[in-house]
Amino acid sequence: MQASILAICYLIGSVSFIIGLKMLSHPATARRGNLVSTAGMGVAILGTLFLYQPGGTALHNIPWIVGAMIIGSIIGAVSARKVKMTAMPEMVSMFNGMGGLCAALISVVELGRIAQDHSDMHVLTILAGMVIGSVSFTGSMIAYGKLRGKIKDHAFRGQHLVNLLVLALIIVAGAIIICGDGSVPAVIFFSMLGLSVVYGILFVLPIGGADMPVVISLLNSFTGIATACAGFLYNNQVMLTGGILVGSAGAILTILMCKAMNRSLMNVLIGSFGNTGAASAHSTGEQGAYKEISLSDAAMVMGYAHKVMIVPGYGLAVAQAQHVCHDLGKLLQKNGVEVKYAIHPVAGRMPGHMNVLLAEADVSYDDLLELEPANEQFGSTDVVLILGANDVVNPAAQDDPSSPIYGMPILEVGKAKLVIVNKRSMRPGYAGIENGLFFKPNTSMVFGDAKTVLQELVNLVKEL
């Protein structure tokens, strides 16, 4: 009886994950979709706590389990509530790493127990769960550090060979354990664990910081597969379906993200290699002349323009300037200026980052233009105001085949009559690539923090 109810709980969980994911992929139903899968998760967890009876005995240590869940809930909920909108990408990475760690720990414990009943396939699942979980854990932590700016990109000569070697060693260790006589030598097992941990670090370390969203999505998919391995081990359908679903959805999402940048996954994972040197050599080369525009002049041209296009980037997010940005937009609209926001799909640190930010500031959906419609309208635009965006407007993506971002679709702001760029300094952007746009004759620079600059502009436009 209890077992059948538990089976129904798991069925509800699995179905709710599918429905939830489906709803998450449409803007109108997304939020409810998240709630649906939360509810399904709740049913599956409660069912396991109270109804799971392997071999007729209920689970022990319930107070400890509940205690751990309370601690975890508090940590998770508080950090998720407190995190700033700008830091959400690294938060997702952190949570993903926690899932990976959980999968790795489960595998470590289970491998200690397999002496009783073990088939080669079981051992293989456990080992796979451990390796994938550990790689996902350390990889996510490195991605987290990179997005925080605490870890720089490191690449050394022959890193790919080292990575391949570590991977080969992991496979060899796994083969030794599986082909062995059934006992699991601790030395080999723990060196396999250690190698997986190291591999996660080596795997993410050389990848450029700007590509972290893709990496997080990939690691997300990894954790899904590790979860599915554990589901296989326990013959647990909800873990299996949930894990596989996330594994395949994460993989597709990773590919979609790469497509938005017009790059292949291989290019993201390997292409960063050697670029670091070339890009930094480049940046010392062509520091041409740029011109600055005063804030009052900027306010003047924008106040009397017919059409202004605002291009937000990470700088806007860092400065938390989305509200004052909307204030400026509203003010200009009141003065009869047509104001639109041009959103590059990968502006900021994650795809859709800018949409989230501007939605927070109540900018109307109709004013947000995606890449293609925006590019069609730049020709008829008087003033483009770029707020802390860099790589997504870098013309090198179109005319410099040696550039690491060559081929990425960009916002063609150069077509507008005047481009005003707000940056904190002349330092190159996140990808570390020099931007020729700043030295074009119709480009003018305004240096300073986006929020202060926008606030000044609002005051000056009011006085016009």
């Binding site: 599918i18 994911l21 998450l24 998760m41 967890i45 240590n61 869940m69 997702v92 720990l105 939605a359």
Partner: protein, 112 residues
């Protein structure tokens, strides 16, 4: 070879589930606007937190005096819960912002 075949035979149902889920995941995701990539990734991230069930089982089956397993299990349950709860809350916060934008847009169209 024989072990593999017997494994497939014994776990046919699970294999069906795996293969159908793979197609399902691809099918569900393939037409999603880029605006929703981040929330979707975050939502999927919360869903793989279902790994917590494994850690509950590990801890629940551990003997009361097996401190190594208990400690590892305890940590596993904590981090698993962080994944689930944090993942859902962050996703909800992201989507909350979309909702306000949407509501406003629909209100405006109604006013017109």
């Amino acid at each position: 070879m024989e072990t593999l075949l017997s494994f497939i035979h014994n776990n046919l149902e699970l294999l069906y589930v795996v293969i159908l889920s793979i197609f399902l995941g691809i099918e569900v995701i393939s037409r999603v606007p880029s605006v929703l990539h981040t929330p979707l990734m975050s939502g999927a991230n919360a869903i793989h937190g279902v790994i917590i069930i494994g850690s509950i089982i590990v801890m629940g089956e551990a003997a009361a005096d097996n401190y190594v397993v208990l400690t590892l299990g305890f940590i596993a349950v904590i981090v698993g819960t962080i994944n689930v709860v944090g993942g859902f809350v962050v996703t909800d916060r992201m989507l909350e912002m979309f909702k306000t934008g949407k509501d406003k847009a629909s209100k405006q169209t109604k006013d017109n």
